[in-house]
Symmetry: C2
Subunit: 478 residues, 2 copies
């Protein structure tokens, strides 16, 4: 820690500005920015730039790309260390059914979590990831308004296409390599506490590939080609829907969990010695019950009494998932048709040391080998590669020390199940990275996405999260 | 034929009233009556009652049922024979993409069919079956306004729930058995010519059962139960979508054409001697090329050089079809979720002598036997049973003679692939029946549904269809 960095003065400022900080957070949350639908993107980029300026960044630029702009900011720090904060200002859509509160009104809701009562904000993006972004901006302002500078220099990179697979981030990083290389490490803030208060630290992320398969009479040459026909014709006409069912069934074991595509698991690395140690020390703290409750699942794939096995499954599994499927008559009642096409969306999670770019070709090869050359395959976004960082890296150690100062030892996971485009910074710029922190949020990509605003003994509320972020920075400045 | 029934005078009237007849037809077509969506039903029932009166029915009643009303009408005839005309005034929805002309504006469109140029009306219900209904009402009016009476007495029964599986027709028929039993035979008019002008006569219809299968984490006890969760969790959480894929794959052979459900084909009767004769004499006239063109298929399941084999396939195949499937993210882009449920709609076509009511229980038993007790099964409509009538029945012979008078010998098919609720009249009232006639229409249940309005040398236009109907009635009166 920088001996002369006056943390207490920043903390006092955080407490004093609580109302203002909540209001900044709500403003960012309520600004739509659904990149899949192209809603509110420009407005949100401008808002982020405005917030950068508001909290004291010296340099702010809305940088155009081939897609949505990147919002870039710089702020000098007390030490000569520089952290790059990576954010996404785009969100998932919020038009699915199941929202108990309006998805864009940032309502404060009383919530009973396994950790006890809290007040939460319900809004699309609260978890993923406007909530953590606003918290870091608030923390930065508190530093600037008390001590005068944050403990480390900050480079802020907010992209607007994360939910599209960050198609233009690699080009952006390549183009601005010189400027971005001033950073010593990379930091992706989010709320890493479980709903029971458990602390988690992930040392990496899985990669992801996302694509559609379409089976149609047109490309098959059998079945209806142009439109759905009367289902009486099933008697003498083939069905593209049955064809897709039979093509899909060849890809996984009967339980849907083991992928049967040749070479799919090639390259999957077993846990390293460091990973084994990390898991062994973290597993006892993992609360399987809370995780199940949060996802509303009754059981995991495997029994949850062996927590280390469960952690390894989550961390090392490369998966083939069906995200959606549709074809034919999907509304009320009994329209009798033989559909001419059916489509499904799939994602593959890629783990070390699989090659992300090899995965879709393997699926293609599998389809061809099984006689399904006609099934069309479309990449939907460019996806991310996996990346990993050693627990021994100073930036990770700074994060662990911040955890210990605020709540205790975190459970350390070799990778998260989710995917963020850290490979861009880690591989293209060679930067070590860390992510997460205290605070709790959940239901990313689901209705009722939320973040905790006022916490309790076990779960951090917004002011504690902001203090934690300052502490982490000052630990890294050390 | 009734020697003294003045056909020529009716024909002259048909020709003279052509404009008026087209206008009646268009009015009926343009009145929405989508029973699946509950649009325009009451208005259409009232319109049908009004048309009954207009064309000279002596008794007209809109009879309430537990669902949509039945429109009943009576008209005395020259002979003491009585035909019951069965119609449906409801249609499929018309909100699917792919309409080249507005689906409810009954636009006249120049069309080039394999049989040559025609003028057609494009509208939902033109084929199925408001077009034929309007034609019979026109024919009836022409009889009443020229000779004074139709050749046979007519009982008209128009139901408004055929596209829902006629759930209330059996109860209606039971309740009004006495009145309906005055009929000697039943007649379902429609346009039975192929697009190349080929004439077809069907001696029966297949039955149909329609249901949904739903696979959900909630009833399975594995996978997400309440909402879709982040797809990163596929690593340790089971997928209801994969489960449905694997359940479905057990039901058919890899090509999707042979049903593997135990007992599914039990009861399927081989062609009788009469059927073999009928098919042998009809097969040479079946134009496989035109049929393929009409459906926009490039090939049938089997080579089409053996036309008798193809006719038998269409006629005797009991099928398991997937009408629709949906679950998870089905919109644009790459939402990464593990869905909590997936649903598909299926129909089974039932042939003599399968028992329609046995089919869904067989599917249930199959699912249970394969460990899929949790997959829920919902009957969507009550469906129809199959029914058959001998080619030797006088009403069928009258239809054949009418064909011969207007175009030549029809191809006779033991059953149609489609399903109409004739079992109600055939089994509950013991009435023989016939259906079809000349004229051409197509694309029932598809976009661009049409009927020929002005024909050519090979295909009958509206006036010829109306004359044919009168001829058929007079042949039956004989």
């Amino acid at each position: 820690m920088i001996s002369d960095y006056d943390l207490q003065s920043v903390y006092t400022r955080v407490d004093g500005d609580k109302k203002k900080h909540i209001s900044r957070l709500r403003r960012l949350l309520m600004q739509p920015s659904s990149s899949l639908e192209g809603i509110g993107i420009k407005e949100c980029a401008d808002l982020v730039a405005q917030l950068y300026r508001q909290v004291g960044c010296e340099k702010v630029e809305v940088v155009e790309t081939k897609g949505n702009p990147v919002v870039y900011g710089e702020c000098k720090g007390e030490s000569d260390k520089t952290l790059m904060g990576y954010f996404m200002y785009d969100t998932m859509p919020y038009n699915e059914p199941g929202w108990d509160h309006p998805p864009m009104k940032a309502e404060t809701v009383d919530m009973r979590l396994p950790a006890g009562k809290v007040k939460a904000l319900v809004n699309r993006g609260a978890d993923n990831t406007k909530g953590p972004m606003a918290a870091l901006l608030n923390a930065l302002e508190a530093c600037n308004k008390s001590v005068g500078r944050p403990p480390v220099g900050l480079i802020l990179v907010a992209e607007g296409e994360e939910e599209l697979g960050s198609p233009n981030l690699p080009a952006y990083v390549k183009k601005h390599k010189k400027r971005l290389s001033k950073a010593d490490a990379c930091y992706f803030p989010y709320f890493g506490q479980d709903s029971d208060g458990g602390l988690n630290l992930y040392l990496g992320v899985k990669g992801v590939a996302y694509f559609e398969l379409e089976c149609s009479g047109k490309s098959w040459g059998r079945g209806p080609t142009e439109f759905a026909i009367h289902s009486a014709n099933k008697a003498w006409v083939d069905s593209p829907v049955w064809r897709l069912v039979h093509a899909l069934k060849t890809m996984t074991s009967d339980d849907g969990n083991r992928v049967l595509i040749d070479g799919f698991y090639d390259g999957v690395a077993p846990p390293s010695k460091e990973d084994e140690e990390v898991i062994a020390s973290s597993a006892p703290r993992f609360d399987a019950e809370s995780a199940k409750k949060e996802m509303r699942i009754r059981q995991f794939m495997i029994p949850d009494d062996d927590k280390a096995a469960l952690m390894k499954l989550y961390t090392y599994a490369s998966t083939l998932n069906i995200d959606g499927i549709w074809g034919g008559w999907t509304e009320k009642g009994s329209k009798t048709i033989l559909p001419h096409k059916v489509t499904c969306k799939m994602d593959i999670r890629v783990v070390p040391n699989q090659r992300k770019e090899a995965m879709m070709p393997l699926v293609r090869k599998h389809l061809d080998a099984h006689g399904y050359e006609d099934i069309e395959m479309r990449e939907i976004d460019t996806g991310y590669d996996w990346c990993r960082c050693s627990v021994k890296e100073p930036v990770v150690q700074a994060m662990i020390r911040a955890f210990e100062a605020f709540g205790g030892k975190p459970s350390i996971w070799p990778t998260s199940g989710g995917s963020v485009p850290f490979y861009v910074f880690s591989r293209m710029l060679g930067l070590p990275f860390t992510m997460g922190g205290i605070g709790h949020s959940s239901l990313a990509h689901s209705p009722n996405e939320y973040m905790v605003l006022e916490g309790n003994r076990k779960i951090a509320g917004l002011p504690e999260v902001e203090k934690f972020m300052v502490r982490f920075m000052s630990e890294y400045a050390h």
